[in-house]
Symmetry: C2
Subunit: 79 residues, 2 copies
């Protein structure tokens, strides 16, 4: 089953990478792009057909490895 | 308007970062996670209310800055 994990910086955490991209875009004439936040998109191929079980395991993996819960938040999306 | 840009490596491009994550997960007992592909999730706050115009500008920005069209593919999602 293809599972999508979205990892974003928490709202209150500064995103210097996003700000750098915004500045570059602005310099190229994309001034209407007023904010950029950069996160990670992880696409996992997971064996198993029991969706709640797969979700629960992937959420565990997020907590343990895929996201840093101090500064990031994650979301798991199943098909 | 909040616009989501998803940048993924093209199917045929190797993803060593994803493979490294998969290996770590496997070592931690998540053997059922058989493949990991890592992409970028960019959330843009864009001034403007004309959705087709916003989409077209963000797609331009993807081609010019946000994605590397040689190895990556992008997708623009509007609300």
């Amino acid at each position: 089953m293809l599972v999508e994990v979205r990892v974003k910086l928490k709202e209150q955490v500064l995103d210097p990478q996003g700000e750098a991209i915004r500045r570059v875009l602005s310099g190229l004439g994309y001034g209407e792009i007023e904010q950029v936040r950069v996160g990670k998109l992880m696409l996992l191929e997971v064996a198993g057909t029991d969706a709640p079980e797969v979700r629960s395991r992937v959420e565990e993996a997020c907590k343990e490895v895929l996201a840093n819960p101090v500064i990031e938040e994650y979301e798991v999306r199943l098909p």
